[in-house]
């Protein structure tokens, strides 16, 4: 597929050369410009279509510009929960008998309200009675639901790689592969998902998520470490919201409140769909007009959350977790993707800890290893606003987290002082280009790159331009951003220890 997109460009580049030279990001953008067809429906839904050669398959990525940042206090975790409910169907799909199910679902909401009220009262017998009533209604609703039908319709049509996942800035709804002759089925179901969703199985999924929070955060050392990193690294911005919500928030949600959140935030004007594969642009455009144009726009969007105040000093937290492996997360506040310093910051992070041979990894994992594992996250938890860039390291036996911290800080200082060599920087640019080329070669990855950037920045081209912009970064730019952002004042350090210090 890469070839089908790039051949005209590469033919020009190659000339008489025996081996194809790698195209630049600009050449890739030029090639994509000639392929990507944009369609903006009247309701605001943006559809990107990229016809490619290859088997009669299409990859589809719908991205809603809704994530944890859109949750208000008290409703944290809802975006993740709604992603988990993305395949529960509608009134027309997923019900064995909608007339009866609707009545039972309304009854279930009444029982849930009653249960919430009873939880505030002293009478245990009343609580037990209402709890029993709620569980009975829930069981009754389950008998009328066919929760697998939505997914089954797609899978029986040959779809694979179905998923829905919420992030800080957006939520993705994916079909990695669909036979090209089943696009109409997908369009029907996609419209149904956003127009007439029925959040059936809500309380079971909600409770499963509460349990998941317990297992993966409260009972998990690294889950706790990441949660503390959010809470300490962000004091006002909703990037501090944990994916599974703050304790108690999810348990207080009802199907009614979740449905309200969905109506308000998942309107067509916040949706972008990229379809990449063996498709006819005209026929696909007609299909999406017919099915998706009827999805209503959402409520007027809240203004973007206020930026996190400038960090005035280093922040620290210490997580004590019995039996945990000693570990360290060292994070720096870095600017958003759109910021002019974004590319140089990305280059700095790649230079520090991106690949195996980078100084932080070589120092921590080299001949005298300080760590067992090292990972870099360039954008935590999102990148639409100022965010954290972080290195997480799990200490080798007998190595205290302080040694990890000292080693990372020394490598940052070294790069700040010396700046990167031209070869090092060239290697980083080449890596970003290779990643772009790999994405363009992969139908599903290309759909994701295009849809995510269109939803988050308003222009799919930014998915390629970020590589172009990276290509313009000079060593001095890297040194400058390292001095500006990677200093102690903007740092957040969370250590994980197996037991409290005496």
């Amino acid at each position: 597929m890469l070839a089908s997109i790039l051949v005209p460009v590469l033919s020009l580049l190659a000339g008489d050369a025996a081996t194809l030279p790698a195209p630049s990001a600009s050449a890739v953008l030029e090639a994509l410009e000639g392929r990507v067809r944009e369609l903006r429906l009247q309701n605001g839904w943006t559809v990107l279509m990229v016809p490619t050669e290859g088997p009669p398959l299409v990859s589809i990525e719908t991205v809603a510009a809704v994530g944890w940042v859109d949750e208000q206090p008290g409703e944290t975790g809802l975006a993740t929960l709604l992603a988990r409910l993305a395949f529960q169907g509608s009134d027309r799909v997923g019900s064995r008998d909608w007339t009866s199910e609707r009545v039972v679902l309304e009854e279930l909401e009444a029982r849930h309200d009653e249960l919430l009220r009873a939880r505030g009262e002293p009478s245990l017998s009343e609580l037990a009675r209402t709890e029993a009533g709620f569980l009975a209604a829930r069981a009754s609703a389950a008998t009328l639901a066919d929760e697998g039908e939505f997914r089954r319709l797609l899978e029986d049509a040959g779809a694979a790689g179905l998923g829905a996942e919420a992030g800080a800035d957006s939520t993705r709804f994916s079909v990695a592969s669909l036979p090209a002759n089943r696009l109409e089925l997908w369009a029907w179901l996609e419209a149904e998902r956003f127009r007439r969703p029925v959040l059936r199985g809500f309380y079971r999924k909600r409770d499963a998520l509460v349990e998941e929070r317990r297992a993966t955060i409260e009972d998990d050392a690294f889950g706790t470490l990441y949660e503390q990193l959010r809470l300490v690294g962000f004091q006002t911005h909703p990037y501090r919201h944990p994916p599974l919500g703050l304790p108690g928030d999810l348990a207080a949600q009802s199907r009614t409140s979740a449905a309200r959140f969905f109506r308000e935030h998942y309107g067509a004007d916040r949706l972008v769909t990229a379809l990449v594969g063996s498709l006819s642009v005209d026929e696909t455009a007609a299909l999406v007009e017919r099915y998706l144009a009827g999805v209503p726009a959402g409520a007027e969007r809240d203004p973007a959350p206020r930026p996190e105040p400038v960090q005035q000093g280093e922040r620290r937290a210490r997580v004590v977790f019995p039996g945990a492996p000693p570990a360290l997360a060292m994070a720096w506040r870095v600017p958003s993707l759109a910021d002019p310093d974004g590319p140089a910051t990305e280059a700095a992070l790649r230079l520090l800890a991106g690949a195996r041979s980078t100084p932080v990894r070589a120092r921590l994992l080299g001949d005298e290893p300080l760590a067992l594992e090292v990972s870099l996250q360039r954008a935590f938890p999102g990148e639409r606003a100022d965010h954290l860039a972080l290195v997480v390291a799990r200490a080798a036996d007998g190595v205290p987290p302080e040694d990890l911290e000292r080693a990372i800080a020394e490598e940052v200082d070294r790069l700040q002082r010396s700046g990167p060599g031209d070869d090092e920087l060239a290697g980083v640019k080449r890596q970003a280009l290779a990643e772009l080329l790999a994405d363009v070669a992969d139908r599903s990855a290309l759909a994701r790159r295009l849809a995510c950037h269109e939803a988050e920045t308003g222009d799919w081209r930014d998915g390629v331009r970020r590589v172009e912009r990276l290509d313009e970064v000079r060593p001095a730019d890297v040194q400058r951003v390292l001095r500006r952002y990677f200093r102690a004042r903007g740092r957040t350090v969370v250590t994980l220890l197996p037991e409290a210090e005496r």
């Binding site: 088997p55 009669p56 066919d146 089954r152 029986d156």
Partner: protein, 680 residues
């Protein structure tokens, strides 16, 4: 790949997915009303093949215009080739090979070299292979090939790297086994094929920690030779040019010194359902696995069983998920299906995670759904075909997928048209074929069930489904028994070390001939200790005698007595000399020393004074046991098979002439001690 074959596949895809186009009609009221137009014919990119002068087979998928190259270099050698006392070697080798670099370019320098070119190189391993996968920009291909060849020709395996890798992998095994799901998964193969099968060894962190550099180098030399190598590439490549370049680079690599392929394992199916409970005290959930024999991919039943698996076991949408997960709410992550093997029969596995308190109900629901699953409807079959058709289309989805498909077929020695033939078979499968295949290949009465959860909450309830064995996974670990190779061969000939070492007791009906009279008996031998009971039929009456630790007893219908110590000692000695007890103790390798005699016989001794010379017949099975320095021998013959155990049905003692004829042999992997109590 020929166009004709692919056209067949395309035509079939069109057949199952076709329908009338509906471009301008009003929106359907339900998606089931939406018809689909036929898919266009798709011809995948061709795969070009060469056999290089250096002996290496090469597959190339040319991709015009691609600036990226993807490569695979695979050796026909994997974890199944590990020596039995070096479990975990190959995964350590794979990681240490990549991280340690070569004698000429150490791991750190290799990383820097690759990073500067935005190239990747990874090593992955499985039971049958060690494979180096790389990606790079086309302009860097020559350099990357040289680096790969250098790594293979002179791997460094630095001791410090080996130590770090083995520690990391040992911890990974420990982490996996701390998780009920990870443990359940790792138990499937040892319990299905026997932990002594090279394809099914239970991962052992201690064995991993005992590996050293010399082990890796020895394996590398033995197995990673160019004669066991298959190479595949895709990208903007000229196959002829590439063949010339590769020949030059790879010719310097040595050939493998080892050629003995491990034997594919055979599934050890119990006579009736056996439930292995692995205790996780206090756990609030149970991981269930149901395992049964499968088929090879090339088997004619593979196609109907694939469709049945899709109908029955698809995660989230199959029948099992619908009935056990969604409707009955007894479990989550319910899935099932046949996993056919390339070079072996593969297996059927069903899985579920259930609250510990629901494990019994969950297993009952799984078995009920499985038991009622012979019949599938035409609608279900059509949907399963549609899924399979799309899956086959994905198998040729772009040059990378085409390379992978062709590579796998070549690696496993399957014909390149295999998937097209499989598709043709899928097209012909009817609902009757599905029922027939399932009936032939699957039974809910003879499953291996694994339940990882709290034993105190599980054992009693699960007994209604079959024999329950509380399993300590440590029992599956291969041990260095210090026994000669002859013992391994002998055990292989009678069912395998794993099978015999798992035995707990034997129940047998034995006719004893002595001094011209026959005494029918029923016997129970507890192999784990001095416990035994024999019921004799004497002139219409039952006389029971037995051992219970330090006491020997006899009981008739109107009397009972403890016997003298001398009788007890004689009983105990006879018990320790019984063939099945000797086989069990040999398999356990714990309290019976075995050495090789001058003529290849096996000399057995223990601290209790047992001294036996065991000779092996032409079929590899024991033929005679000589006791008391040869003054007394027993001859073993008339070998029969029960539940995978080979046992001698006729045992004759010389010179006494006493003969034992085993009329029924029932190996027990769980045992109710009440059987040993005297009859009331």
């Amino acid at each position: 790949m020929s166009v004709a074959v692919v056209a067949g596949a395309g035509a079939w895809l069109a057949l199952v997915l076709q329908g009338a186009p509906a471009a301008q009609e009003p929106p359907a009221s339900h998606p089931r009303e939406i018809a689909a137009s036929p898919l266009p014919l798709y011809v995948p990119p061709p795969v070009e093949r060469r056999h290089l002068a250096c002996g290496v087979d090469l597959l190339v998928v040319p991709e015009r215009g691609s600036p990226l190259v993807e490569g695979r270099v695979a050796f026909r050698a994997g974890t199944a080739c590990e020596p039995s006392d070096r479990t975990g070697l190959v995964p350590v080798l794979g990681e240490a090979l990549r991280r340690g670099g070569s004698e000429t370019l150490d791991g750190t320098s290799l990383d820097a070299w690759l990073d500067a070119r935005a190239a990747t190189l990874e090593v992955r391993v499985d039971a049958r292979r060690v494979e180096l996968d790389f990606t790079c920009l086309a302009e860097d291909l020559d350099g990357v090939l040289e680096r790969v060849a250098d790594l293979l020709a002179s791997p460094a395996y630095p001791q410090r790297t080996v130590e770090r890798v083995r520690e990391g992998q040992a911890r990974e095994v420990e982490r996996r086994h701390a998780s009920p799901a990870g443990l359940a998964q790792d138990l499937v193969e040892p319990l299905a094929y026997g932990a002594d099968s090279p394809f099914a060894r239970f991962p052992d962190p201690d064995a991993v920690r005992a590996l050293d550099r010399a082990d890796l180098l020895a394996f590398h030399r033995a197995w990673l030779g160019r004669d066991r190598m298959l190479v595949g590439l895709r990208g903007e490549l000229s196959t002829d040019d590439l063949a010339t370049r590769l020949d030059a680079v790879l010719a310097a690599l040595p050939v493998a010194t080892s050629t003995e392929e491990p034997r594919p394992p055979a599934f050890i199916q119990p006579g009736r359902t056996r439930i292995h409970v692995v205790d996780r005290p206090g756990s609030d959930r149970t991981e269930l696995r149901l395992v049964a024999p499968g088929v090879r991919l090339a088997d004619p039943d593979a196609a109907p069983l694939r469709l049945w698996s899709s109908i029955l076991g698809a995660p989230g949408t199959g029948r099992l998920a619908g009935e056990v997960e969604h409707d009955a709410r007894l479990a989550r992550d319910v899935a099932a299906g046949f996993e056919p093997g390339w070079g072996r029969a593969g297996r059927f596995v069903a899985r579920a995670t259930t609250p510990a308190s629901s494990a019994e109900d969950c297993l009952a629901a799984l078995l009920e759904t499985l038991g009622a699953s012979l019949d599938v409807s035409r609608t279900e079959l059509a949907a399963a075909r549609s899924r399979a058709a799309a899956a086959e289309l994905r198998r040729v989805d772009g040059p990378s997928a085409v390379l992978e498909r062709a590579f796998e077929l070549a690696f496993h020695g399957y014909p390149q048209g295999f998937w097209e033939d499989h598709l043709a078979r899928l097209r012909e499968v009817s609902t009757i074929d599905v029922a027939g295949a399932v009936r032939r290949r699957f039974s809910t009465d003879r499953l291996i069930v694994i339940a990882v959860g709290p034993a105190d909450a599980l054992v009693t309830g699960l007994q209604r489904f079959g024999e329950v064995v509380v399993l300590d996974p440590a029992d599956l670990l291969s041990r260095d028994t210090g026994q000669p190779e002859e013992v391994e061969r002998l055990l292989d000939a009678i069912g395998g070390r794993s099978l015999w070492s798992r035995l707990v007791a034997v129940e047998a009906d034995v006719a004893v001939w002595t001094e011209g009279k026959e005494y029918p008996t029923r016997q129970w031998h507890d192999l784990r200790g001095p416990r035994l009971r024999v019921d004799y039929q004497v002139e219409g009456a039952t006389v029971s005698t037995g051992l219970e630790r330090d006491r020997s007893w006899v009981r008739t219908s109107n009397a009972e007595a403890f016997l003298p110590d001398a009788t007890r000692d004689a009983q105990l000695a006879r018990k320790r000399e019984s063939p099945w007890e000797l086989f069990y103790r040999l398999a356990r390798g714990v309290d019976l020393r075995a050495t090789r005699g001058p003529e290849g016989e096996i000399l057995l001794e223990d601290d209790a004074g047992t001294s036996v010379v065991l000779r092996v017949g032409e079929d590899g099975r024991p033929s005679t046991l000589a006791f008391d320095g040869g003054a007394r021998t027993v001859e073993l013959s008339d070998w029969r098979l029960q539940d995978g155990y080979s046992y001698p049905a006729r045992v004759v003692e010389v010179p006494s002439g006493t003969e034992w004829r085993v009329e029924r042999f029932r190996p027990l992997v769980s045992f109710d001690p009440r059987l040993l109590e005297p009859p009331q």
